[in-house]
Amino acid sequence: MTQLFRPSADRALRRILASSAFAFALVVVTGFIIVRSGPFWNVGSPITQPIPFSHAVHAGELGMDCRYCHSSVEVAATAGVPTVETCMGCHSQVWTAASALAPLHASMATGEPLAWNRVHQLPDHVRFHHGIHVARGVECATCHGDVERMAQVRKVETMSMSWCLDCHWDPHARLSSGSVPPDRLAQLDDCSICHY
């Protein structure tokens, strides 16, 4: 009976299988590298704001404490941004004529809220609580980096789940003081800590 396939078909098939296996592996590895890279998570790209607020000036040069503005970081899930009234505490007297601060004065006059562009956003299925992290001794710079040296705030960490778990699996390695009692470690990698 005549063969349907010529002998070279075997070689061709093996080459196709090998190259598709290699291509698949390449896709997987490339994808893996891309997804774990900083730029994929917007790490390092500064975000422009409606008012060019500089943390370098306020938190760096003037030495203001983070909590003066982000006042609910110790008690609530969100750290919050300062109300316009908080900004006006100084800016009703300082830099009053600056055109960059016009949105502040407008908001104070009308009561209209001021919208800032978010730099750190976690997906909806994650519930993050600032208060408990601060209570356990996690410093602001641990996750947000050297904000007091940033003229425009940018992400310095990916804030991916694996990055969170790096600490949650072994907090003692990351925290300066031993503020987490050992017997509580079992809880920190429960799904229900962050996802409920």
Binding site: S71, S72, E74, V75, A76, A77, T78, G80, V81, P82, T83, V84, E85, T86, S107, M108, T110, G111, E112, P113, L114, A115, W116, N117, R118, Q121, P123, D124, H125, R127, H129, G131, I132, A135, R136, D183, R184, A186, Q187, D190, C191, S192, I193, H195, Y196
Partner: protein
């Protein structure tokens, strides 16, 4: 959906049950008869699957391949970055991100219920009871829980309209000024005010100011769900109308005559709490006798229940009075229970209590006052105080309608009432209203009455306006806004004030009125204290010493030919005001488990006599008026009586409520507001399939409910724990070093009131699925209250059992999830991780309790879900394709744990309360830390009555139940067929 007619042989069913053959607990007649519909729900959790589409194998494989290929792409949608919005002004003493709790009051049929409202960022999301308020004691009812949805309802009106044209607030003010000027000219002749019932001291003071300015103006009251006979009965007995206040904490033997005092009426939460507190099988147990035509939650708590028609109840009252020597007998054959009942009440003395329901005629109320006086109950279990509501003139609405027809009432203001829909039939209210030169309607919705009035003004909801109210015992409390109302919305106070010539500022009006009462000194401190507490301390009305006069003779009209008809407000939509509230429409009614509609409730024997089954449309004719509606066969209903729930058949109730059910108001004439006789019933031949959840999520005949009498319990305290061997499991044991959460539910205390169901829905963003989806068993309630009957169909005992996720130690659902979306956490919870779930539904398949709910469609999401403002931000809103279930309110556990860790202390017992636990009036649900030896839940679980449902499956549920113990009177003659009484 019950689409096929079946014919259960009730005679043989009844005798089989009496003979001990057949299940001890059954869920419905359909289940007893093993009708095809019931069996569908028993055999498969989702019976419709596979029935709708029949595909061949090739198509199925194609579809599978396509879904696999597309499966990965659903995660590719990236959420847009949201801005962070900074407020302009800081709020003093309030950290953004933490919820605010505000104490305020809801007015229910005029009586105040104190509540605490949890508000996130200025948006109210959850209502809880106010522990300091006597009508709440920390709990709420289903209506209070659902008010959040009414507050945020997009169907609420938002525009002032005159004959349909939108008007501004200024134009309204000008119109009211012109009206006031015109009225002043003629002393107010023709000016009429029609309101619902109200106990608000400020409102009453304003109406006084109004009548000062317009002496000829009149105030009429219309309350479709309230009866005037309690006040009238008090007037007959005591010479003046008085409020009758019960004190269940001292009651040992209670007789309720057509009185659903444990789940309806002013102060019912306090009554239920006190009643449940006195039912302790290990201590002293009270005893409850109930005589009622239609089963109610109070009837289910009865140790002896008598299904009697309304006129038979009058007979019973008269015969009881005769047995106690205070009145003449009824003249008919007394019920066999009367001598034993009289003896039991007499023995209890000051611990006895006879309660007359509001729907009974005034003469019976007077008789009951005399009976209570003879027993020594007055001053002990029942006291009489000044009336909480202003006593209206009798037939207030009828008088108004007559004046409207005669032309003496020309300018009508209707505040928070809907007479075009619910006025008694025969008044022709709508026609008379249309002929008035001026009419104004103030209401939450543009409803039936708004369509009939010339002006419509949107009303501010109780949660967004200032006011005050009195509770059932007279305690005053203030109403303060939890959020500012949208522009254009007025409260009733403000409207009346502007007509009376005062400033339309709710806060100023309420302050003024209380300043007049309290005086100037220390007023600011008083004001702040009262707003903080939610109650004005020390304002309960004092009991008045009374001596009942001899009662008028009771002359119950003979039953005569024909059916008796009883009207009752619906347990979910009440008098129709909540018809537009989707949570309440989808809430299964306690006894019938009907949703999205009402039915003509008939006893099994009566239904058999007329040859009707569930879903058959019948025409009920009473006094020349006819109404058509589907039948629901209600086991335990009094024979030859039909109950028609009010509140349905609305035609302008918004997107949700219009066209649902039939209106019983069309049959309800002024001469027979609650009970009618001489009605006829006729099968019309049409079918209107009802939707009821009574057969959903059934667990066949397994002993899920356990009950015994007190004698049986004393003889065998461990009756509830059927011998369950400790079986080993190859799954590892969990070690709980921290908290180990658990729950215990007392079946003796559960009333089936459904407050827990709506509380869970509000707290956890549980979606509403609509009528068709509920019919195929897809209702999304995380917590359901199953209802079981025990005994013969015409007089069964009813048990309720709340069913929620058991958070099993050896959970069958955890081990079958292919993606590990449901896991056991280190505090004992069975956690559901929504973002991992891919919707295989294997977990739900494995769950023996059928407590898992699947999002078949995007119920909660875009287009068709609840308004976004209603959602609790602490709980994820689930998308299509994701499984959900009770989480033991993990968001509350998390918040309490974080709070405790921040403050460096352990979580206290009682600090974490699940939504269902917090809402329950009788404290049936206890939740807490099983690792704490002194926690309430550990104590409950130590009780010999404690058992786990389906424990023989070795699931080791963390939610266990306390078996029910009844306290029947051993002297009561037993029925031959082993019936409930």
């Amino acid at each position: 959906m019950p689409s096929e007619r079946y014919h259960p042989d009730l005679q043989s069913l009844g005798s089989a049950l009496a003979g001990g053959d057949g299940p001890r607990f059954w869920r419905s007649l359909e289940q007893l008869a093993a009708s095809p519909d019931a069996m569908r729900f028993l055999e498969r959790e989702f019976p419709h699957l596979g029935e709708a589409t029949r595909t061949d194998r090739r198509t199925l494989l194609k579809l599978l391949g396509a879904s696999l290929a597309l499966a990965g792409l659903t995660g590719c949608e990236e959420a847009p970055t949201r801005p962070i919005v900074a407020r302009a002004r800081s709020v003093p003493d309030h950290a953004p991100g933490r919820p605010l709790h505000v104490a305020t009051t809801l007015m229910q049929d005029g009586y105040g219920l104190g509540i605490l409202v949890e508000s996130h960022g200025g948006r109210p999301v959850k209502i809880e009871g106010n522990p300091l308020h006597p009508a709440s004691l920390g709990a709420t009812d289903a209506f209070a829980q659902a008010e959040i949805l009414t507050l945020h309802d997009p169907d609420r009106s938002s525009l002032i309209r005159q004959e349909g044209t939108p008007r501004t607030r200024a134009e309204l003010a000008r119109m009211l000024d012109a009206l006031a000027l015109e009225m002043e000219g003629r002393g107010g002749a023709g000016l009429r005010l029609l309101t619902g019932p109200t106990s608000s001291p400020t409102f009453i003071a304003l109406t006084a100011a109004l009548s000062e300015r317009f002496p000829e103006a009149r105030w009429h009251r219309h309350a479709p769900a309230l009866s005037d006979t309690p006040y009238q009965g008090a007037r007959l007995a005591f010479g003046q109308p008085l409020e009758t206040r019960l004190d269940l904490s001292r009651a040992e033997v209670i007789l309720a005559l057509d009185a659903d005092f444990l789940s309806q009426g002013p102060g019912w939460i306090a009554h239920a709490a006190a009643f449940a507190a006195r039912r302790d099988p290990a201590g002293s147990m009270n005893r409850l006798y109930v005589a009622e035509p239609c089963p109610t939650p109070t009837g289910t708590r009865a140790d002896h229940r008598l299904p009697l028609a309304p006129d038979e109840i009058l007979h019973l009252a008269a015969d009881l009075g005769a047995a106690l020597g205070v009145s003449a007998p009824s003249g008919g054959e007394p019920h066999p229970i009367v001598p034993v009942l009289a003896e039991d009440l007499r023995r209890a003395g000051p611990g006895a209590l006879v309660v007359a329901g509001p729907r009974l005629p005034a003469g019976i109320h007077a008789l009951v006052h005399v009976i209570n006086g003879r027993l020594g109950a007055i001053g002990s279990t029942v006291v009489h105080t000044a009336p909480v509501l202003p006593v209206p003139d009798p037939d207030s609405l009828a008088a108004l309608a007559e004046d409207m027809a005669a032309g003496t009432a020309t300018h009508l203001l209707i505040l928070d009432a809907n007479p075009v829909y619910d006025a008694p039939a025969g008044l022709e209210f709508a026609e008379r209203l249309a002929r008035l030169p001026f009419s104004l309607h103030l209401g939450l919705y543009e409803d039936e009455t708004a369509a009939g009035c010339r002006w419509h003004v949107p009303m501010a909801h109780a949660l967004e306006c200032w006011g005050d109210a009195r509770a059932y015992d007279g305690t005053a409390s203030l109403m303060q806004p939890v959020r500012t109302p949208r522009a254009g919305r007025l409260s009733a106070l403000e409207l009346i004030a502007s007509l009376a010539g005062q400033e339309a500022d709710g806060q100023a009006l309420v302050r003024e009125r209380w300043r007049a009462e309290r005086g100037e000194t220390g007023f600011e401190a008083f004001w702040t204290q009262v707003l903080h507490d939610g109650v004005v301390a020390g304002t309960a009305f004092a009991p008045q010493p009374v001596q009942p006069a001899p009662p008028p003779p009771v002359n119950p009209a003979g039953a005569g030919e024909g059916l008796r008809v009883a009207f009752a407000p619906d347990p979910a939509v009440w008098d129709g005001r909540y018809a537009g509230n989707a949570w309440l429409q989808e809430l299964p009614r306690p006894l019938s488990k009907l949703v999205w509609g009402n039915a003509v409730l008939l006893a099994p024997a009566t239904a058999a006599r007329f040859g009707v089954q569930n879903g058959d449309v019948v025409e009920v004719t009473l006094a020349g008026r006819t109404v058509a509606g589907p039948v629901f066969v209600m086991p335990g209903h009094a024979p030859d009586t039909a109950t028609l729930p009010l509140g349905y058949g609305r035609w302008r109730a918004g997107f949700v409520g219009s066209g649902v059910g039939f209106s019983a108001y069309a049959l309800r004439g002024g001469e027979a507001m609650w009970h009618g006789t001489g009605a006829t019933l006729r099968r019309s031949g049409a079918r209107d399939p009802l939707v009821t959840t009574q057969d959903h999520h059934a667990m066949a005949d397994r002993a899920v409910v356990r009950a015994a009498t007190l004698a049986e319990f004393r003889e065998n305290p461990d009756f509830a724990r059927a011998a369950v061997e400790e079986r080993s499991s190859f799954y590892p044991e969990y070690q709980y070093e921290g908290h180990a959460w658990g729950m215990a539910i007392d079946l003796d205390a559960c009333l089936g009131c459904n407050a827990c169901m709506v509380a869970c829905q509000a707290e956890n963003n549980v979606p509403v699925v609509g009528r068709e989806e509920v019919a195929i068993g897809r209702e999304m309630h995380w917590l359901r209250v199953d209802r079981y009957f025990e005994g013969p169909p015409d007089d069964p005992v009813v048990h309720f059992q709340p069913m929620l996720c058991m958070h099993c130690e050896k959970a069958p659902c955890e081990v079958v999830c292919p993606v590990n979306a449901t896991v056991h956490d280190s505090e004992g919870l069975n956690v559901m991780v929504y973002n991992r779930c891919i919707g295989t539904r294997y977990c739900s398949n494995n769950c023996p309790y059928k407590v898992r709910r699947f999002n078949w469609f995007d119920y909660a999401g875009r287009g068709g879900g609840a308004p976004v403002e209603v959602y609790n931000p602490d709980v994820t809103v689930r998308e299509r394709g994701v499984m959900e279930k009770c989480t033991y309110c993990v968001q509350r556990i998390s918040a309490a744990r974080i709070e405790a860790k921040r403050e460096g202390r352990p979580v206290r017992d009682g600090e974490v309360r699940t939504a269902c636990q917090q809402a329950c009036p009788t404290r049936a649900i206890t939740f807490g830390d099983l690792n704490a030896p002194d926690s309430a839940v550990t104590a409950r679980k130590r009780s010999p009555r404690n058992y786990g449902v389906l424990a023989d499956l070795n699931t080791q549920p963390r939610t266990t139940y306390l078996a029910r113990v009844g306290n029947p009177n051993p002297d009561v003659p037993k029925r031959r067929d082993g019936g409930g009484s």
